[in-house]
Symmetry: D5
Subunit: 147 residues, 10 copies
């Protein structure tokens, strides 16, 4: 057994019980973005979060223990994702990557936008021409150290 | 000569004259995100936008003509980008890809967030613990057609 | 259990019972192209479509539930497909890719042909020199947004 | 000098003179699909076609000679194309590849749809919800030989 | 169960019973080249051929059914084969590929040698300096269509 | 200057003068298959062969010297070739690779068919249903050494 | 001209003048590790640092300007480096990667060791059994944000 | 059963019993870095070390035997690691690789820093601006042999 | 069951019984290099060799039969091996490959050193500065055929 | 200018003047294996060796200076070499890699055979059945450090 097996059990239980990520997030007490990532095996649960998850998904003690171990992260099978929805995000990085780099450097100088001290918010944006997906990404700017 | 050569000339001239993307965008009359992408060879200029660019970057008529031709897009040299700033975006896709997919499908059903009918806004978010990069992505949701 | 397991069960049952995709499609009430893709794990069934499939392929309730979950798409094992029939399609993209790009841009300007708001029709075209495969692809044109 | 150099000169001249593929095709006397592919270095010109091209693009005798030599085909730089328009076609192969294979085999048995004895027709399809790209592909069915 | 499982059972039975491909081919009534490819999961059996195979390899009805379904072809695990015997063939394509292309085009013009309407004959060629493998490949020439 | 530059000059001169590989081969006094491979930079010329080539292609002394140096072989740009004609050969290796391996081993035991002590003969095979490309490959069988 | 061209000129001048990285670093006033990385095109010079570099390497004003632009980082040609010295570092990541991950997580919890707020110190460690390379890496620990 | 199975059992037992690498290392009597690498299947246990491990993790005799066999090393699934913590190390090799090479060669001449006669020490470095990960790598310098 | 399963059983039995390759080789009556390669699934056993192996490793009749079938060769999981010992050999090919090519061609002309009519001898070479691994490779030179 | 340019000049001069590696090695005073590797850009010349090379190949002072700089090593264009002679060496690593690993570990325990403290000797071995290439590789054994 490893974390991956726990992820599969969570997904399976979620489908069987007809649960939603937003509802699960409310129970665990964090944003739906963080909770979904955590349930998909990308984040580490605290002890109390794991207890809620254990109850929600009928996990064994051992399975709940795995949730509290830092996982090996990475949710894609291939360097270039094949799923159309995820590919569009890869395409954004491909087409706009240099643009993002230029604009962040122009505003902040040399450094990066952290993907660790980072949060994400995904919501529906009503639009008469067809609703839009609105995503806000917020990452701390980390300047390169000169020494 | 091809579009790539025009991109190099634009970058070179920008460095030499000490211009900024925000200033260039104001002159061309679109957002700094779109204009930077266009100058980096990822978007197509209209005739009037190309004329402004021609003047700003001292382009020949032929170079200005290339700006109005739809380019072959893609700004990265490798499938997995090596530059740390751009890599962090690839990491977001890698670590959060399945999360984004789950949440958009939960809200909208099967389909994608368009990377074409799409806009992006990058700005500085003041924060006492260190300023943050705030990025808003907005893409139209396109449902899969059933036929 | 995951969607992949349901796909295998469907294929297995289809072979055992000697069913045809065209017949399955008639029962489910959509085109044979969409229904085949859906049965192969690339599309999402509605509740009523899933009920028909459940009956046709003797699926359990849980298996029928998986059909209604948006799947991770992508039906090829390798970036360049090894099967000769599918490779010919990849070859068309490889040999004619730039041609398609040039002609669509000449007619529509910068943008893409949607692979989401998309339909496909495959049929036999009688020809005295040997019958032909006739495929009609229809995708909405999506222009790049300028902002 | 090689065929690639001739392709670049043709593209360059086309941009400079403001020509269109449809007009070029009319002059050369074949479909715009074949002519564009040929001008992009994927097809072989006959002697008379090369003479028209020589005049249209002000080619030297040697450049016109290269057009009549069978070229090394393949118009993409990477196995998975980065340009969004061409990628959508690759996505169709990826998502629908197995579907296409199943349906052609159901209708014709084991074999392939030729990409050599093949033609393509790209046109605009008016649609009140937004115009569509309509593409017809026609390839001879070639059954596998049993011996 | 899938075709791959049937291939493994055939191989296993062949080893256990000490059968030879040439003998199996005689029973099935086609060349040893075609029959071996078919048993290895690359070709489709007719109903009567499958019945012979069923008897020879003690297959179940279901296993015999799979033999009549068009398989997903491709018998190598990696793009560049690791087995020395198969690699030598890949090396021939690598070293002589352009030569083959030049000579076929010189004789036939633009087009390909079909790998579908194709047959192969492998035999021993006695030679005092060491016997040789003699392979005859015969493929229909298919000219590129101009339209 | 390197061998590649000499290959380009040979190709260029051949196109300009309208020569054919069969004629060149006759002049050099070897088969058209070997001579084409040699001219394309895959084989090593003897001193006298190089002298004929020097005259035919108007090479400098230095260029003729390069023809006598053993070259770095390999005529394809990518592991999987993109050109349709050469791809069909790669497809033969992919689809029939295991078949070839099984049949050679059944006849000869463990070992390989040499790609070095090897010859090839490509010719037209008349056929009322469409002419065929007939290729004979002959390679010495080399058994694995047991020690 | 781009940053890469400036890097080449710096390397060339350094070789010609017989300079050492430690001496260059002293002149620029930062550690030899940071200065070498900067000269190799991986870091951004401040205005005053660029002025020193301009004098040291006889750069033009434009070349000195490029040093102050944030570069596209990444100093290796291939995903797996071929140079033995650099490969040993890749091997350390490969063999000890999971070990490093386990030990940092045991001490700090989920997060990363920054490669941006990061410094490195390379020195000779005398050892009677053969001198050793001693490298100290220091990176800020960044905990994953929960939100 | 192979070494990989033993590694999984060790990890599983460690999680179940709530052990720490530092404690395990103390029991085995080597540094926590070496012991973690060994438990993760990268190093070879001596007989007495294997006996301690057998007791700690309740291994069978056979499992303990595997620990004493030299393993096939390499702890990453992909050439470029997907886990953010390990990726940062790969990024260091990518961004600073040439810098490390230049500085070691300047100090020692041509050769490498050994990854075999090598040790590593990972510890927490207190810092008011946020604690840091401090890693000391020590590898013997091996000069290239001239012969 | 396939050859791979037999290889695993042999390795497992060897570990359990504490056998050595040199002892196994003596029993089978060939060099330790050939016997190890054969036991690892790279070579084909004769009938009598297989009988010895069957006894040594307690194989079933069927398992012993598999040893006499020519295997699909190749013992590495990745194109570039991750294990440090095997990588050093890949590094030798990478760093010295062109050197080996130049020197063999200078001595023998165009051709190859056979990896089939090939033997290898690995032994310890005592050396006061540290013992060395001494490997002798002997392969028949095969000249390229001119025809 | 870089080391690569010097390598090309050396090769070019060697061809023009009809020199042999063995003669060049005698002049430089090291083995032909080391000297060839050095001339091909894989090793570092001492000052006096560079002076001999400067005279032999008519190098400029600057070119001679480059020979004394430690080069970025790696002489192959692709991870899997395409040249048949070099591929046979890669095949040896592929087919016999695990065998070499097992035998060295059986004799020496865990560690590697150095590719740095390493020498190679290539010579002709007369054999009535056809001459053989005899290669002796000698590398220091380096045991893994336990700490």
């Amino acid at each position: 057994m490893d974390r991956n097996a726990v992820t599969k059990k969570i997904l399976f239980t979620k489908v069987s019980k007809g649960m939603k990520w937003s509802g699960i997030a409310q129970r665990i007490g964090q944003s739906k973005e963080w909770v979904t990532a955590a349930c998909l095996g990308q984040m580490t649960f605290s002890k109390s979060q794991a207890e809620v998850a254990q109850e929600l998904f009928a996990l064994t003690d051992e399975e709940a223990a795995w949730l509290q171990i830092v996982p090996y992260k990475g949710s894609l099978d291939t360097a270039v994702p094949t799923d159309p929805l995820i590919y569009r995000w890869y395409e954004i990085v491909n087409v706009y990557g240099m643009t993002i780099k230029e604009l962040i450097h122009e505003e902040f100088g040399d450094g990066i936008m952290s993907a660790i001290d980072f949060s994400m918010d995904i919501r529906r944006e009503s639009d008469p021409k067809g609703d839009r997906v609105n995503v806000v990404l917020s990452g701390k700017f980390l300047p390169y150290k000169v020494y």
